[in-house]
Amino acid sequence: MRRSASILVCLACIAAFAPGLDAYLKLGTRVSGRTVSLEWKQFPIRYFVMNRGVPGVTPNQFLNTIIHAFSVWESVEGVSLSSQFAGFTSAAPLDDDSVSVVGFVNRPDLDRVLGSTSFTIDVVTGEVVESDIFFNANFQWSLADTGEADRFDLESIALHEIGHLHGLGHSALGETELRAGGRRVLSAEAVMFPIAFSAGTTLGRTLRADDIAGIRDLYATDAFRQTTGSISGRVTKNGVGVAGAHVVAFNPANGKLVGGFTLSDDGSFVIAGLDPGPQVLRAEPLDDADIDSFFDPSLNVDVNFKPAFSTRLVVVPRGGTARNVEINVVAK
């Protein structure tokens, strides 16, 4: 009950690395003056795994965890994705060598980063040349089914990073608290929430509605897209568009939360991959997070407003879009 309450209080939001008009839940990059989604065009995605373990994790155990995490994303209904382990390597992730590598690295300059994903992109064609995932060897890692005290769950973090590798940005669908010693995640309604659960838990091993909507937005088959719908609209303050607002779609029929962001100065947003039917929309400022982990600095993010709801229930059509939804907010 308490967990349900915590989870449901959190309201969704999605991030994009670079702003774009329809950059819902997706990483984007500038190619020839326009924003394009970072996504893979050729399958299977081939990756190498570094032949180095850390205390508690052998290279083979690491490999099995990575293979499993890829399979979780690939098993989402309606999605066409595949990957292939290409072999062990001594090459390190984060090297620009045109080869995608997953592995443990010791990086003192990334002192509070559990793991991270990098891309090398051809900015002329928009092609992803490689994508590496690094796990910070300075942390203690666990493979245990129920977690281990003071160790971070490798499977949870792998699932998050492989979400990035597929082209998903950070989600803001999470709730945190501050206490002596730091900030703690109370609940997260997205694997792609950027702050990890505390060490010792395995709560991040299951994809949520927000993650599933995101991966479907990128890789769903055309047939499956006809079974979902989307919402488009604007968030405004005094008649002017609000950039960087977090917009959450709540489905009262099944309790699912899926989020998006306004990613341009006119305050427009698109949330795709939604179940058809009524949705309640809420806009809120991302004023509790380091927005650099969500947005490109060229976006003039406004966090000075109070949360607000759409004035009407929005009905998402199957295979279509509910358009012109407007949420008006006021300054704090």
Binding site: L38, R112, S118, F139, R282
Partner: protein
């Protein structure tokens, strides 16, 4: 059904405010951890091959307006992962990007002879921007908790008490954190990014 009803109610409930907040724990840790805290302006951004052309990093030159802690000189260079050389761009998801002209407060660390780097990557950057309504230069303050509070404080988005503030107010918060007794920290246990 009960869960659905509850969720609808919670969606519309305004979260209670925690008005006794003074200084943030997380912010205090940033302040105590960073040897250098500086307010300045980005004057140059360039990407270069490093580590024997195996990786790309971006080197950001900052003209310091004021040091709140430590000193790296009138201008200095710090590094962030990723960058663009020619037609290839390396994007490090979650890492901050900078442009010439950005006004920032940076929390920096150094590691031997290497270039300084941000504490906690994007957590070590506070951007000073123009408020769309007032036209003032403001910075979004960190989430706050009482200095000696033993109670956890839930972070609520849209909390009216947490408005963008002028750099003077932000500077005062840093100075207050610096003047406090050292805080025992549980380093790298919670709040880790990914």
């Amino acid at each position: 059904m009960r869960r659905i009803a509850l969720s609808v109610v919670l969606l519309f409930v305004t979260m209670p405010l925690h008005a006794t907040v003074l200084l943030p724990i997380e912010f205090r840790e940033l302040v105590t951890t960073a040897p250098v805290i500086v307010h300045g302006q980005v004057v140059d951004v360039r990407s270069e091959w490093v580590d024997g052309r195996r990786a790309v990093e971006t080197f950001v030159t900052v003209e310091a307006a004021e040091y709140l802690k430590g000193n790296l000189g009138e201008s200095f260079v710090f590094k962030v992962p990723g960058g663009q050389i020619g037609r290839y761009r390396t994007v490090f998801v979650g890492a901050p990007a900078f442009q010439t002209g950005d006004e920032v407060v940076l929390f920096l660390k150094t590691d031997g002879p290497s270039f300084p780097f941000l504490v906690g990557l994007s957590q070590g950057v506070f951007r000073i921007v123009t408020d769309t309504q007032s036209g003032r230069r403001v910075v979004t303050p960190p989430a706050l908790v009482g200095v000696n509070s033993a109670d956890a404080v839930r972070v609520v988005r849209g909390n009216p008490a947490r408005r963008p503030v002028a750099i003077d107010v932000f500077r005062d918060a840093v100075h207050r954190a610096l003047s406090e007794e050292p805080v025992v920290r549980r380093v790298l246990r919670e709040g880790a990014m990914r």
